[in-house]
Amino acid sequence: MCNIKQLPVIYKIAACILMLMVSSAIFAPIIAPYDPNQVLPDETLQSCSGAHLLGTDALGRDVFSRILYGARVSISFAVAAALCTMILGVTLGMISGYFGGIIDTIIQLLVNIFQGLPGMSMMIAIAGVMGPSTISLLFAVTLTSWAGFSRIVRGEVLKIREENYIEGVRSLGASDFYILVHYILPNIFNSLIILFTVRIGTIVLSIASLSFLGLGMQPPEADWGAMINDAKIYFRSYPNLLLAPGLCILALCASINLIGDALRDLFSIEQDRNKQYL
C-alpha cells in the first residue's frame, strides 16, 4: 500500500481534470453563460470570442454551454449505467460464487453467452430494436456489460469463501446474506471501485458512438457524441465544433483511465490483465 502523495504527478493532473469536469457538470447551470438549448438565429456559426468562448453552432447555441451541459449528460448517464451494470453484475456474481451448484452453472452459462456476443453490436441491435431512448440505452449498456463484473466478483468470492474466518462466522450463526454483505462485499470493494471507474470510461465512449449513430441521446440534449454528429457538416470551416466535444471525450476518458491506474497502484492490486479490460 502506498499513499496518495507518492503517486506520479500525471495521476494528479488526471484527478484535477476529472474533478474539473465533474464539478463543471454539477455546476453547469451556474457556470454556463447561456441556456444550452437557446437558439440565437442571428449568432449562428460564430468563431471563438469573448461572448462565446467556444463559438456557436449552426443554430446559434453557445458551444461552451453545451459542452458543460454535455458533461452533465455524458457523465451522469455513464455513472448511472455503470452503477446498474455493477449492481447486476455483483449480485449475480456473488450469488453464483457463494451458492455454487446449479445456480452457479446457470449464471456462468449466462456469463458465457453474454461474453460470446460482441458488446457494441448488441448495444446497436438493442437500441435499434427498442428505439432510441434513455431507458433502452441503459438497458443496452447494462445487459451487454454485466458479465465482466460478475465473472470477476465470482472469482473473488470463490477465493474468499474458502477462508477460515468465513467458516467461523458461519458457525456463529450468521446468515448467508449477512456474510455476503458484511464480509465478502468489503473484501472485493477495492477491485470493484477500479472496475467501476474504468467501466465509466468505456461507457462514455460507447454512448458517444451510439449518439453519433443517432441511437443515443435525443435532441436537444447536449450529448458530446451528438455534438460531433452535428458538427460533421460544418467542421471544415468551424473546427471548434468538432474539436471541442472530441477533445472533451478524449480528456474525460484518458483521465478516467489514469485514475483507474492510480487506484490500482494505490490499492496495490496485482495487475490482473483479465480484470482490466473485460
Binding site: V39, P41, A58, D230, I233, Y234
Partner: protein, 523 residues
C-alpha cells in the same frame, strides 16, 4: 548498442508502413484526364441498382430503361417509347402507337410483342416493393382487362372501368420496358442484367458498391456523351462530400445527394459548382388535428405565422430552398405564388386564445430520413425554440420512418415535419389526399381537415375534363389551403446538382440529372 535489435525492427516497420501509405497514395489520386472516354465516377446515397428482385432492376435516372410515357420539359406526360396514343370516348380503350426501329441492349427489337410480355410481367410481380416506387398494376392500371397486340406496331389496353388519367399514371416508373429475354415473366424476376432501350447499358454491378454504365452506341436518339459512368454507392453524405473534395467522384445524384449545408460549404471551393433546378418536393409541418392543441385551426395558423421561414432557409438551407405559403408545389404548372406571412404578435394572440396562457407539452416527430437528406435536425430544434414562445413545449423524437407510421397509426404525436412530393403535374391526387375528408393523407396524418367548399370542388374535379376548367378549380383550392391550411407549408425544395468543374452539362432534372449529356471539360 543493446538497442540495436529493436531499433532495427522499428525502422523496418516504419519503412513498410510508409511504403504502404505511398502505394495507396498513388492509387487514390486521379489526375485530369486527356482522354474524353475516361470513366466518370459519380456517387449516390443508395444503391441505385437493387437488382433482380426489383420491379425496375435499376433506377430510371441511370437511363438504362425507358418508359412508354415519359415526362416532358414542361412537366406534362410526353411520348417516349410510345410515340402517340388515343382513347375511346369513354376512356376504357387506349391504343398506343410504338416508336419504330428501336432495339433493346441485347439486340431484341422493341415491338408490340415485347410490350405485351412486359405487361404480363407487371401482372405477375404485383405487388412488388422497391426502394423507388411500389409496383402494383392495380394502382397504375386499375381495372385493366386486356393487353393486345395490334397491327402497325400498336398496343391496345382495355379497361373495365373508364380511366381518364391513365397517361399521368403511366409516366416513368409506371411503364418501364425491358427486353423479354432478360426476365422470367412468370416470376417477374430478372434472369440476366436488365436490358432496356436507354442511352446507357449496365456492364457491371456490385451490390452496395457500384454500378458501371457504358454508352449504348446503337441508341436511337442522341447518343450519350460519356463513354463510361460509374455510379458509386456512398450512403453517408459527409463521405460523399469528402469524396468530391478528394477528387474521387465528379458529382452526386439521386435524392439527398448533398445537403444544402454541405453544398454551400463545397462551392466555396471554386473547383466545384452547383446547378439548381426545380424540385417537386415541399416541406411541411403536419399537425395532429384530432387532439388538443391542434384540433383548433387557430393553433395551426399561429404556428404558421410564428415560423421564421426566411431565417430557416438562410441558415440551414443556405438559400437552397424557397419559403412558401402555398400548399401546392411550385413545379406544378397550376401553382401560383403565395408568399408566407410572418407575424409574431398575431401568432401569440392566436395561441393565447387557444391555450389561455397555459403551457402545453407536445411531441414533435422528426423522421430519420430528414436528418440524412435535409437539415431537419437544426430546423426542428429551431422551430422547437419558436414554439416555446407560443407556450408549446415540444419534445423532439427522432424516429425511423416505420416508427413514424406507427405513431401516426396510434395518434401518438402532435407535429411531424416531413416532405410531400408531386407524383405528377396533375395535382388532383395531392389535393384529394390532403383536403378531402376521406383523403388518405388526411386520414394517415390525422389532420382532421374538413372544408365543405374544398370537398365540393374536389368532387367537381372528377367530372371536369377540360384543362382550363381544372385550372380554375386548382386556383381556388390553393386559396382555400392558404386561408385554412390542411398542413403548414414551410418551403419548396430545390434540386441541387453538385459537381466538379472538371465535368460539364451536369444539370438537374425533375427526377435525376442529365446523365446522357455530361462529359469531361475539354482541355
Amino acid at each position: 548498442m543493446r538497442n540495436y535489435y529493436l531499433y532495427k525492427t522499428a525502422l523496418r516497420l516504419l519503412i513498410t508502413l510508409s511504403i504502404m501509405v505511398s502505394l495507396a497514395g498513388c492509387s487514390g489520386n486521379t489526375e485530369q484526364p486527356n482522354d474524353p472516354d475516361q470513366e466518370i465516377v459519380l456517387a449516390a446515397a443508395r444503391d441505385l441498382t437493387p437488382g433482380d428482385k426489383d420491379p425496375y432492376y435499376t433506377s430510371s435516372i441511370l437511363q438504362v430503361w425507358e418508359p412508354l410515357v415519359g415526362i416532358g420539359e414542361d412537366g406534362r406526360p410526353a411520348p417516349k417509347l410510345a410515340k402517340a396514343w388515343e382513347h375511346s370516348p369513354d376512356y376504357t380503350e387506349w391504343i398506343f402507337e410504338l416508336a419504330e426501329g428501336i432495339k433493346f441492349h441485347d439486340g431484341t427489337p422493341f415491338n408490340a410483342a415485347a410490350v405485351v410480355k412486359n405487361f404480363e410481367r407487371y401482372r405477375n410481380i404485383t405487388p412488388r416493393v422497391s426502394p423507388f416506387y411500389l409496383f402494383d398494376i392495380n394502382k397504375i392500371y386499375p381495372n385493366l382487362k386486356k393487353v393486345e397486340e395490334r397491327e402497325g406496331n400498336k398496343v391496345k389496353l382495355t379497361f373495365s372501368q373508364p380511366f381518364s388519367t391513365l397517361i399521368y399514371s403511366m409516366t416513368n416508373f409506371g411503364s418501364p420496358m425491358f427486353s423479354p429475354y432478360c426476365f422470367d415473366s412468370r416470376t417477374g424476376d430478372f434472369t440476366a442484367v436488365a436490358s432496356g432501350t436507354g442511352p446507357f447499358k449496365i456492364i457491371a454491378h456490385v451490390t452496395k458498391q457500384y454500378t458501371l454504365l457504358e454508352r449504348n452506341d446503337e441508341y436511337y436518339g442522341v447518343r450519350a456523351k460519356a463513354k463510361r459512368i460509374r455510379i458509386k454507392n456512398i450512403p453517408n453524405a459527409e463521405t460523399r462530400y469528402s469524396a468530391l473534395k478528394a477528387g474521387e467522384i465528379m458529382g452526386v445524384l439521386d435524392i439527398g445527394s448533398l445537403t444544402p449545408a454541405l453544398t454551400s460549404e463545397l462551392v466555396k471551393d471554386n473547383r466545384f459548382a452547383v446547378a439548381i433546378g426545380k424540385s417537386t418536393i415541399t416541406h411541411y409541418l403536419f399537425c395532429n388535428g384530432e387532439k388538443a392543441p391542434f384540433n383548433d385551426p387557430r393553433m395551426i395558423r399561429a404556428v404558421s405565422l410564428m415560423i421564421n421561414r426566411e431565417i430557416l432557409v438562410k441558415n440551414f438551407f443556405h438559400g437552397y430552398a424557397i419559403p412558401t405559403g402555398n400548399f401546392l408545389n411550385g413545379a406544378s404548372p397550376f401553382s401560383k405564388e403565395i408568399k408566407p406571412r410572418r407575424n409574431v404578435e398575431e401568432a401569440k394572440e392566436l395561441a393565447n386564445a387557444v391555450l389561455k396562457g397555459q403551457k402545453v407539452n407536445i411531441t414533435f416527430l422528426l423522421p430519420q430520413y430528414g436528418i440524412d437528406r435535409y437539415p431537419y435536425k437544426e430546423i426542428t430544434e429551431f422551430i422547437q425554440a419558436e414554439l416555446k414562445e407560443l407556450g408549446l413545449n415540444a419534445s423532439i423524437v427522432i424516429m425511423d420512418w416505420a416508427a413514424v407510421q406507427d405513431a401516426r397509426a396510434t395518434g401518438n404525436y402532435d407535429i411531424i415535419i416531413g416532405t410531400q412530393g408531386l407524383p405528377n403535374f396533375e395535382p388532383a391526387i395531392v389535393f384529394k389526399n390532403y383536403m378531402k375528408r376521406t383523403g388518405s393523407a388526411n386520414m394517415q396524418y390525422r389532420l382532421g381537415y374538413s372544408n365543405d367548399e374544398a370537398e365540393q370542388l374536389l368532387d367537381q374535379l372528377d367530372a371536369t375534363l377540360e384543362i382550363a376548367d381544372r385550372a380554375k378549380i386548382y386556383d381556388r383550392l390553393q386559396d382555400i389551403s392558404a386561408e385554412s391550411p390542411p398542413c403548414i407549408p414551410l418551403f419548396a425544395d430545390m434540386n441541387l446538382a453538385v459537381h466538379s468543374q472538371k465535368i460539364q452539362n451536369y444539370e438537374p432534372l425533375l427526377y435525376g440529372i442529365t446523365l446522357d449529356k455530361i462529359e469531361w471539360v475539354k482541355r
